[in-house]
Symmetry: C2
Subunit: 127 residues, 2 copies
Amino acid sequence: MQSYENKIPQDLEYGVTVTMKVLAGKWKPCIIDCIANGMKRPNQIHKKIKQANKRVVNQQLGELYEYDIVSKKVYQEYPLKVEYELTDFGRTLLPIISIMEEWGNENAQKIYELAIQRKENIAPLEV
Amino acid sequence: MQSYENKIPQDLEYGVTVTMKVLAGKWKPCIIDCIANGMKRPNQIHKKIKQANKRVVNQQLGELYEYDIVSKKVYQEYPLKVEYELTDFGRTLLPIISIMEEWGNENAQKIYELAIQRKENIAPLEV
DNA sequence: TCCTTTACGGATAATTTTATCCCTATCGCT
DNA sequence: AGCGATAGGGATAAAATTATCCGTAAAGGA
């Protein structure tokens, strides 16, 4: 997230805040989900989340790495091969992500409609 | 979040994204937590999350309201009295928040240290 | 030699979110 | 009339995040 020095001190008083610190980022939970599902290579991840900007996905991968959520292995082959995996620590996030995934799937329609009501700019739901 | 028209269409493809849409916001999970714990009045909430800017808390309360997470009751007394409560829908978020709270509390120290290593600007943990 | 594939990141712009400041309104009390 | 307590929001600045563009590197193959 911060590739620059941030100015306002962040608060880690609340448990939720701590978790949010790790999970917040437009694609982080998706990235974790991808990796958990065996898509280890950056390429695969980019293809899966094609709405996402590569640069951003890379940044967020970097942060996940620095927060010990994913590990990174570089193979010295060519073309280059890199593999990310969840660390043990990272795996402890899985229950959270899966419950979020579940809640989101159950309520996607409702949230979508409320968002439309608010005239938000939402990409149409795929069929 | 958006009090203006947003330009980049948001994606609700993934369950997690949907959930994030509802939960993302610097203080939203905290606000929900407060309300769940009986702090119904804005005043109480502001006092509890005193690091948070009032204006922002109000904004986020407003969004939670528009997403049917909280309900709002205005009493015509003076001084004014307002009470927020979780809706049934809002209550379905509680398991998510509580698991996040738990994870965060367990790992606060570790995340804190990693953040310091990254030279992030973190408010010192209270004792 | 040029093109492809893979992975990555600098520089910068654009967008979105948060922070700051200060004003409104209402009633009861002094 | 002036003040306190309550809840809220307009206008705008600042900060943080995400998007866009394009360049690097390295080996193999046409």
